[in-house]
Amino acid sequence: MESKKHMVADSLFTVITLCVMFLVNLFLVMQFDTKTMTPMIFVLGVFLISWRTQGYVFGIAASFLSVLAVNWAFTYPYWEFDLISPECISSAAVMLIVSTATSTLTTRLKQQEKLKAEAEKERMRGNLLRAVSHDLRTPLTSIYGACSVIIENFDNLSREKQLLLLKDIQADSQWLNRMVENLLSVTHVDAGKVQLSKHSVVLEELIDALLVKFDKHYPNQTVQVEIPEEFVSIPMDPVLIEQVLMNLLENAVFHAHGMRNLWLRVERKNRHAVFFIEDDGCGISADRMASLFTGLLDSEAPVDSNRSNMGIGLSVCKTIIKAHGGELKAGNRPEGGAQFHFALEMEETDHVEQ
């Protein structure tokens, strides 16, 4: 379906461009009575066509047509095909070579860009996998260990000790679950095509659902919320955006040492809603900033002390926001503490009163 659409669009573009070039040439010939420009203008047309269309076909077809057009209308004898005179044949050959070369070149350029994007994606996936296998193993080890301890010492362990271990297991498995959700989103976003299930989401409802969830996991951390009073609706994949916001808030809880306030603000800027997640904790150090979004862990960072989900979480967030046509940016607030922000395009909501 998609490719058919492309074919139609490309064919249309080719025909229109050639017609325009033909008319321009006619105009120039009539106006200035000179034909020196003619081949050049056709080459320009062919160049545009091979640049804008997919593959070789349109470019080469256009160059053949151009040769015929030049031969037919702009070389002696006029309005007649003359494919025998050596002058005509040689000019036709030059034309064909020039146009084929441009066509080939632009096509190759496009292919190269595609390859580069592919390689970049592959690299990100590799980084992610490495980080994942590390981050999954840590909680799994602790779950496995705690279970073994309980089973092997079932009669000797005090009830309080058992409860403590069981609570650890519970916390670790909850964390594993959130990790798996992150990974799931990556496969959604990353599997060749972006599979967002986008629909209009009311900002207030998104924030509401997020806060309810956040409060369940971190009842001791309040989030100060500022959102626009008006009805704001944003087309998005709510599951994924909720996850981004959750990850960013969680990061603050785990990594912003000394944090007292955690803010979630949304501002309207023209046609965009800009989300800000800010804290007044320790901020992001310069060496951390460089590899913040890569999904790689710093090799020096302590492996187990606090949850090192940050890398994966953030690279997932970045991918999700990118798939929504935005960019996730990180920085430090001048007053101290970290700030993350991204913008999403809003929906026009003028005519939605009952």
Binding site: E204, E205, D208
Partner: protein
């Protein structure tokens, strides 16, 4: 009391999850019936007549949706659906087919028990029909069905016709999640392109008028992408 236990049928193919649910329900005073296949569940439904069904959507022999469809032909028994996160759209479909509620895997036992209690209570309330004096009360929110008035903390809240109808609908099904399409069908009759947006705008106005702040889940819980639910204060 012991003979008067609620009977709950659990249909789930994973043996570990099944035994976990069974243990939880057992220790909380429910009588548990289990089935690992849809067909088996349908048979047990007619032979044991349970009070509630907990249903996993991904079963090997038949789709859970098919089970709901078959069951709803003859029975209004409450059905709670278990679903994984990847089955977001299945969840809405199951609710629209007539499931009463859903729980996303992995779930805590507290959540499961709360949902079961709520569903059993709604069912009982529907059997008893109508509320006293035709007035609904939830914390300081009062909805008077006869006079079509809403008040919060004794102060009258001015709501439009449509807003009242939505509030009345949600309160009559208190504790039960109502999907967007279920509400739209009940309020406007038919669903069209802009009706979800219309509903969302109305809900935003209702929240503003009732003074709900995001994250508080006061009166109305919003289930993102699925629908709305009036909170059951007794949960």
């Amino acid at each position: 009391m012991s003979n008067n236990k609620y009977k709950i049928l659990v249909i789930e193919d994973d043996r570990k999850i099944l035994s976990m649910i069974q243990t939880v329900l057992d220790t909380n005073g429910y009588q548990v019936l289990t089935a690992q296949r849809c067909q088996q569940g349908i048979l047990m439904l007619s032979s044991h007549v349970p009070d509630l069904v907990v249903l996993d959507l991904g079963l090997p022999d038949m789709d859970g949706e098919e089970f709901i469809r078959i069951t709803r032909r003859s029975s209004m028994i409450p059905i709670i659906v278990l679903s994984a996160r990847t089955e977001e759209s299945d969840k809405v479909r199951a609710l629209d087919l007539g499931a009463n509620d859903y729980i996303t895997k992995p779930f805590g036992t507290g959540e499961l028990l709360a949902r079961i209690r709520a569903s059993l209570r709604i069912n009982r309330m529907n059997l008893q029909a109508a509320m006293p004096d035709n007035v609904f009360t939830l914390e300081d929110l009062v909805i008077d069905y006869d006079r079509r008035q809403v008040s919060v903390g004794g102060n009258n809240v001015h709501v439009t016709q449509i807003e009242f109808n939505i509030l009345a609908l949600l309160s009559q099904q208190v504790g039960k999640i109502m999907t967007y399409s279920a509400i739209i069908r009940a309020i406007w009759g038919a669903m069209d392109e802009g009706s979800i947006k219309k509903l969302q705008v109305n809900m935003a106005n209702i929240r503003k008028k009732l003074g709900c702040k995001p994250g508080e889940s006061r009166y109305i819980i919003n289930e993102l992408g699925v629908g709305y639910r009036m909170t059951d204060a007794r949960e």
